[in-house]
Subunit: 230 residues, 2 copies
């Protein structure tokens, strides 16, 4: 055998392109030309094409027949859709995880949240955002339903792609967020029932969304469909 580092070329192409989208190298609207990508990555067009279609299925890119692929949009509506969907599936995942959470998990989450509080003081939004995923991962990764877990992962990925091009960090909201994390942990520690946990987890994300909407322009709000507060 020759090289065969890891996975097929399709998979490596998928990972490479996704990486560049998430990293902000390919910003929304960027035209993804199959032949060009193939040359850059050193692959042929077929694996690249497959990677693109997969990214399309996860709505990282839009694809038009006989035209090509472009990195998916950034409009506020798309952000709202993603956040709303995530509030629902993540809320459910957290609730389903709750009965299986261990004291060690909670301790770990507390440590992460403490680190997030530090980020507030030293103003480190990048690290704050990374830690935020760590925190929530502890809370939902025990979810016994792999379908739901997959939807949560997709939501976070999508969010990362959207954020790198729009905004990410609202200081006032970040402070609230840390406090809500603490409240969530207290609920879990007390063995709260699934419905309470779900409501809290969902509200936590909805609050972030609302902070964003409050910052957006009136024109943006006018084009934004109903807000999902309940």
């Amino acid at each position: 055998m020759t090289t065969q580092e890891a996975g097929s070329k399709s998979e490596r192409a998928y990972a490479a392109i996704k990486e560049k989208i998430l990293g902000g190298e390919y910003t929304p609207g960027y035209r993804l030309v199959l032949a060009k990508l193939a040359e850059d990555l050193g692959f042929s067009v077929v694996p690249v094409r497959e990677a693109i279609r997969r990214l399309e299925a996860e709505s990282f890119v839009t694809f038009e027949r006989n035209v090509g692929a472009t990195v998916a949009g950034i409009d506020p509506t798309e952000y709202l859709y993603t956040m709303q969907t995530l509030s629902i599936v993540e809320g459910a995942a957290t609730a389903l995880s709750a009965p299986l959470i261990t004291p060690e998990d909670i301790a770990r989450a507390r440590a992460v949240n403490a680190a997030m509080r530090e980020c507030l003081e030293h103003f480190d939004p990048v690290r704050f955002t990374a830690l935020n995923l760590d925190f929530h991962s502890v809370l939902f990764e025990n979810c016994p339903n792999p379908h739901i877990l997959d939807l949560v992962h997709r939501g976070w990925n999508r969010l990362q792609a959207l954020r790198s091009s729009t905004f990410s960090y609202v200081p006032g909201r970040a402070r609230e967020s840390v406090a809500e994390h603490e409240a969530l942990l207290n609920l879990l520690e007390a063995g709260a029932d699934a419905e309470t946990v779900e409501r809290a987890a969902r509200a936590h994300r909805a609050a972030t969304l609302h902070a964003y909407l409050a910052r957006s322009t009136p024109d943006q709000r006018a084009h934004t469909p109903l807000t999902p507060t309940y």
Copy 2:
């Protein structure tokens, strides 16, 4: 131009294969060989391959590298995962649709439900199942969030594939189901708040799942992760 009936060959291959899976022609475990499918459908392997990968993404088939694709499994756990996920996303979609529902929608749903009641009398499970989708479609199709709506559609599709090979119709449960539909309509008509609607829609599906679990063998239940009643 020559023919170009509708859509690309990839899309037609996708539709054709999916049709055969949903229709029960390709039962779970069936080995999908690219070359054979290509010959049967009259296409080349590349479009077929793309179709397979797309079906894989929607978990209609499983795909193993250098081995091939097989129609996805039927185990009770998979059914539970799908139903649980659907209870969550469909519950949310129904709740988000509720404020936008019109009296005409409700009348239409009532008519469908009446037809379902007829199916109970004449024992027509096939039509009952088809009408059931019609009924719920009226309730969730107004959902303004296309992401959530897409998840609902995927869930129903997946369910159809699972059902055609496992079971579908539990007479006692069907009767309950019709009654719950009526209750749901009354809630919507009264302008119930989103949380109430969501709770009812979710419970409606969870009840079907529980009816299935009650029928399953103790051994199956033992391998089934926690039930999502809340």
